[in-house]
């Protein structure tokens, strides 16, 4: 730690984007969430940008322009600072994090059922939040014609369905927030009631590492995370480099990226082509496409969120839901009581050990990851 203490300088811990490059990016530990770039762009410092999956200085000259605020280093989900505080706030005592409740459920909406991943729960939650005027926008990941995920800040619920379903490639979900102050006036024109852009409420959906970044930012209250009102974490075992994954899939199934209809991981990797063919691959077969930072990751369900959702452990056609916070609990209670989602009824003979079994499964998944 370098402490500047000359007379007219502030005594502080000097961290720059250079430190982030050295300690995270250069050792392939960057998870491409986009937090550093989104923050720096909103500050209008014009210093760093994403290039593929990595942030970098826009130019050598820009490296000298770094304001040395250190915020990018602190909010990076892959650095140590703030993690203890985050664990405290989120009541994290073990690798699974705080579990207030755990159940399987599915949407009752026929349209979402059709396009959703498992139980269509995430899409249903977001639609409910839009319908009840509890959010003004949501960060989701859409998908282009070649099955490449495109992170996007949407503010019309009609755009929701485009993002349903899972793409197993990196999507820098925090990055769209770099344009927050450009998009906000459009949202306000639509939503006449808001007069302070900083009070817009955006739902965030992302992987555990992205949720970690969002919560680090929320801990500091730095823009743009101050507008995130609810955080939904998706279960994530590992994530893939888009080009490498598509190359591997093409070689193993002969399906072109543009002909993929749906992909799913349930122990193994399942691919459905637009022609209706089904393929099953083991995850080991796809190992070469896994991003390096995923090998270092010790999360699976997403400890730092209001609700964690995923397919693992859920009966067919259902999603598993872990409630993390009071806010998450209240939200899911409303969805259930208003009939937007329905809970999976655990067969009576399984009731006593259903939850412990699921928890054990999650623990096994995490230890499989960390021992890999």
């Amino acid at each position: 730690m370098e402490i500047a203490n000359s007379k007219d300088e502030l005594e502080k811990e000097v961290k720059t984007f250079k430190d982030l490059e050295d300690q995270v990016v250069s050792i392939n530990n960057c998870c491409a969430c986009g937090a550093c770039v989104a923050y720096c762009e909103l500050q209008e410092f014009n210093i760093i940008e994403m290039e593929g999956y990595n942030p970098k200085f826009k130019s050598e000259k820009n490296a000298e322009n770094c304001k040395e605020c250190g915020v990018c280093f602190y909010i990076c989900p892959q650095t140590i600072p703030l993690l203890d505080a985050l664990n405290g706030i989120h009541n994290v005592k073990d690798e699974l994090g705080n579990i207030m409740d755990l159940f399987a459920c599915r949407t009752t909406d026929a349209v979402i059922k059709e396009v959703g991943q498992d139980g269509g729960t995430v899409s249903t939650i977001l639609r409910y939040l839009f319908d009840t005027n509890n959010i003004d926008g949501a960060i989701v990941s859409e998908c282009d014609e070649n099955f490449q995920p495109i992170p996007k800040l949407i503010y019309n619920k009609e755009d929701l369905l485009k993002s349903s379903g899972t793409r197993y490639s990196i999507s820098s979900n925090i990055l769209p927030l770099k344009d927050f102050y450009n998009i906000a006036p459009e949202i306000i024109t639509k939503q006449k009631r808001i007069f302070d852009v900083d009070q817009l409420r955006i739902a965030f959906v992302g992987t555990p590492c992205q949720c970690r970044a969002i919560n680090k930012m929320k801990l500091l209250n730095v823009k743009p995370a101050h507008v995130i009102s609810i955080v939904i974490s998706l279960f994530c075992f590992e994530n893939f480099d888009y080009s490498k994954l598509m190359e591997l899939l093409k070689s193993k199934t002969n399906v072109d990226p543009s002909n993929i209809k749906k992909t799913q991981i349930k122990k193994n990797f399942f691919l459905t082509s637009k022609a209706g063919e089904q393929f099953e691959l083991t995850l080991t077969e796809l190992n070469d496409a896994v991003r390096n930072h995923c090998h270092e990751c010790d999360e699976f369900t997403g400890k730092f969120s209001d609700i964690s959702i995923g397919g693992s452990g859920a009966p067919a056609g259902y999603s598993m839901v872990i409630i993390r916070t009071e806010k998450g609990q209240k939200l899911m209670d409303s969805l259930l009581s208003e009939g937007n989602i329905e809970k999976y009824h655990i067969p009576s003979e399984q009731i006593s050990d259903w939850k412990p079994k699921k928890i054990n499964l999650f623990r096994r998944m995490i230890s499989r990851k960390t021992n890999k």
Binding site: L10, L82, H226
Partner: protein, 434 residues
Amino acid sequence: MEENSKNALVIGGGIAGIQAALDLADIGIKVHLVEKKPCIGGKMAQLDKTFPTLDCSICILAPKLSECYRHRNITLYTLSEVQKVNGSNGNFSVEILKHARYVKEEECTNCGDCARICPVRGVSNYFDADLMTQAAVYIPFPSAVPPVYLVDREMCVYLKYKICGLCYEACERKAMDFTQKDEIITLDNIGSIIVATGYNLIEDIDPLKKYGYKRYKNVVTALEFERLISASGPQEGHLKRLSDGKEPTKIAFLQCIGSRTDRGQKYCSSICCMYSTKEAMIAHEHNNELESYVFYIDMRAGGKGFQQFINRGKNEYNIKYIKSKIAEIKIDDEENPIIIYDEVNTSEIKQLKVDLVVLATCIIPPEGIDSLANVLGIELNEYNFIKTKPFYPMETSKEGIFTCGCVHEPMDIPRSVAEASSAAAKVAEIIKEG
């Protein structure tokens, strides 16, 4: 002018404290004015207009604020609290805790560069009744006195984690000073003290769930309404509903919220009948089609020109006064509040759908009154306001300590100002003789 051997201490920088300080300072007495908030002006600075003259509140207050700031006989201590008082009438010594502002008062030019570069956003602003947000370095409102930014120590990334420092670099005047510490200032030779720490409102301690406050976006408190309708407020003077931005055409003003009840504050909050009428009048000036309904228990218009003010409301501003008891507030699908009430004259249960409900919330003793009373050694009354006697209205239970304004009972601005001058006269008597 001959120097007095003793100085005066005024606690509280709202309209009462300001008036008392100015009166004393003008006759040559040195005054220490202590304010807990970052700036002076108190609640009056937040109001849109005052009754019964409908003067712009900040317009008549602002000259007094700057006079206070510039007066050679007034020393202003903001972000400060009195924490110890020794001595007795004619000779007190006082300890003030002055919280660090982290901005040098003498260097800050109120330019706002610090707030623009601050990475923190979304901190709610008390001056706008928490309807607006700000950065971690802020000024409560643009014309605040002193015109100096300050750092919110709970939100500042530098103070918490020793990173950032962007404002420090951005300030051309080098006005940021993170080495500032809270300091204790001792003032000796205080001849007499005036306590004018004003009031809080019932919503500060009671969530008002019964009225759907916070749950229903179109139910707001009177102070929120003042900010919403104020030209310097969040909506820049265009009154709009918080739920959908629609301009309201029917507003209900509910009286006695939290007051005159055995289950809450037993006393009358004194100013609400008048300010609700005033708010309905201002709203009518924004929209001549507006219908207003004041749901009241008893009309309290005991002041010079007050009854005429109510009559004008009825005749010229389309205000209907309904003597009633409120049973409940519901909302319909478009978040329009529906008021269910018992109309006293007919004993009928009725309902009225409106666009917006404004709660005339009750004045309560200011936060921290217990510990302040303890420090000063003065008594409080059964409602926790400062105890005063009917024929010695400015005198507290301790000799040499006087009071004025809402800290001893709810009152309007004209009376607060009158009391402030009265208290100042009492203090002057002691100091000039001493």
